[in-house]
């Protein structure tokens, strides 16, 4: 991928980039479909039941059937809703989710964009989805949706800050914002990966990431038992599918980002395991994190809004800042001194 990027932009190159974009979209949609299926299977197993097994062999086509259903379903827009915003919200939610994937490196030479401010790009774009959720909640003219929208705005903003600061430690250690370099710099032994020296940053990052995804135990915005369905209560048909798509593409993005930042991207846990290609290690670590997210969803109750805020500002943020100081101290004394 890198070679084409360096050449001048001819029609051929543009077509190649477009095709790569389409391939990535296909992969992500495939992932989303089977992530939903896999999640329902895992949570089913954890709840002593089987999970979807009726549509297609072993239920593999279950999510395909769901998406088809959503496509065919009537797409209602509430009469008093603010039409323009109502239509805009799902698109505004999905675009940054997909755009963010450009910057994630899968292996040494399999990456899409090699921006030297990759991490900043990621964090900046993921902030836009928050606006989309608030617009969605406000424009559907439904009290529950409004409450859901307000809650998610508060939650996402207040967890964006610890998310970013917890990553500053990693950036300081590698000295660059470029995700490919961050991935490269982590050594071949698993204790050389970033998550051990940056253990505080890692824990804070995981908690803030789960909250960023609005997943249990932080799934306030669409708290089924209180707000019925939160901001997407009025959405139906394909628009609702877009919100679900956004949520799962973010799961893909966050899991990939955690793998690259903390778990040594495509590096094998030990050098003698190097014969296995990097992409396999990447996928293994990636699915472990995805499994952990599903596992959390099956076990944890939901946290209350004020506890969520208190936890975010009073616990996560100081921890993240402390992590930055420790890294700075460590770098100053051992590396540069």
């Amino acid at each position: 991928m890198g070679t084409w990027l360096d050449e001048t932009l001819t029609w051929g190159n543009a077509l190649i980039f477009f095709l790569w974009g389409v391939i990535l979209l296909a992969i992500v949609l495939g992932f989303v479909t089977y992530a939903i299926y896999f999640e329902r299977k895992v949570i089913g197993w954890m709840q002593l039941r089987i999970g979807p097994n009726r549509v297609g062999p072993l239920g593999l086509l279950q999510t395909v059937a769901d998406i088809l259903k959503l496509l065919i379903k009537e797409d209602t827009i509430p009469r008093k809703a603010d039409r323009m915003l109502f239509i805009l919200a799902p698109a505004l939610a999905y675009v940054p989710a997909f755009a963010v994937l450009a910057v994630i490196p899968y292996t040494q030479d399999l990456y899409f964009a090699d921006i030297n401010v990759g991490l900043l790009y990621y964090v900046a774009l993921s902030g836009i989805s928050t606006i989309a959720i608030v617009i969605g909640g406000w424009s559907s003219n439904n009290k529950y949706a409004l409450l859901g929208g307000m809650r998610s705005a508060a939650q996402m903003i207040s967890y964006e800050v610890p998310l970013v600061i917890s990553v500053v430690g990693v950036v300081m250690m590698t000295g660059s914002l470029n995700l490919r370099i961050i991935g490269e710099q982590q050594g071949n032994w698993f204790w050389e990966w970033n998550f051990l020296p940056q253990i505080i940053g890692f824990v804070v990052f995981i908690i803030a990431a789960v909250s960023e995804l609005n997943r249990t135990p932080f799934d306030l915005p669409e708290a089924e038992s209180e707000l019925v369905a939160g901001y997407h209560v009025e959405y139906s048909g394909f628009r609702f599918a877009f919100f679900m798509l956004t949520e799962y593409v973010y799961v893909y993005a966050i899991a990939a980002l955690t793998t690259v930042l903390f778990l040594g991207g495509w590096h094998a846990p030990a050098p003698f395991l190097d014969f296995v290609p990097g992409i396999i290690w990447f996928l293994l670590k990636f699915s472990c994190i995805v499994f952990f997210l599903f596992w959390l969803r099956a076990t944890m109750p939901r946290i209350r809004v004020d506890q969520l805020m208190g936890f975010g500002w009073k616990v996560l943020l100081p921890l993240a800042i402390l992590n930055v100081f420790i890294t700075a101290l460590y770098l100053e004394l051992f590396i540069k001194g």
Partner: protein
């Protein structure tokens, strides 16, 4: 933190545990013998004593008897007998008071139907609903005299 981890442990352990769900539509659900499903009615046993119609709390049994066709035998023969399953709550009081066990419960419970008219089960339908009929009917409410009679 410890409580969270213990909780995660329990869910992880039950991931590999034996599943408890039954695949009902494919594998028929076997009910115990005493299960109160849809009634089964045998017209020849019925002596048209109207007990079941009188005891039914929701009054969903309607029956009409007619004089016995062959002159020498006394008593009545049932003419029409239908139960309105829109209101029937399957409370088993009718089988309890029936002296001759003409009406008994069966173990099948599938009553779903696309139109309300199908919920009016008439005599023929109740007669040939005779799969897995309940054996132990224990009609304690029946008048003691006739209880042993047509067991």
């Amino acid at each position: 933190m410890k409580g969270l981890l213990k909780g995660l442990g329990v869910t992880f352990k039950s991931m590999t545990a034996k599943k408890v769900t039954t695949s009902y539509p494919d594998v028929p659900f076997v009910m115990p013998d005493r299960f109160r499903g849809i009634q089964h009615f045998e017209p020849d046993k019925c002596i048209v004593c109207n007990q079941c119609a009188r005891v039914c709390p929701t009054e969903c049994i309607t029956l009409t008897g007619k004089a016995n066709p062959d002159p020498e035998k006394k008593g009545k023969v049932i003419d029409t007998y239908d139960i309105n399953f829109e209101i029937c709550i399957l409370c088993d009081l009718c089988t309890e008071v029936c002296p001759t066990e003409a009406i008994v419960m069966t173990n099948n419970f599938e009553l779903a139907s696309y139109s309300r008219d199908e919920l009016f089960k008439d005599r023929e339908w109740l007669d040939n609903n005779n799969r897995n009929v309940r054996q132990d009917n224990n009609n304690i409410g029946a008048p003691a005299a006739a209880k042993g009679g047509a067991k």
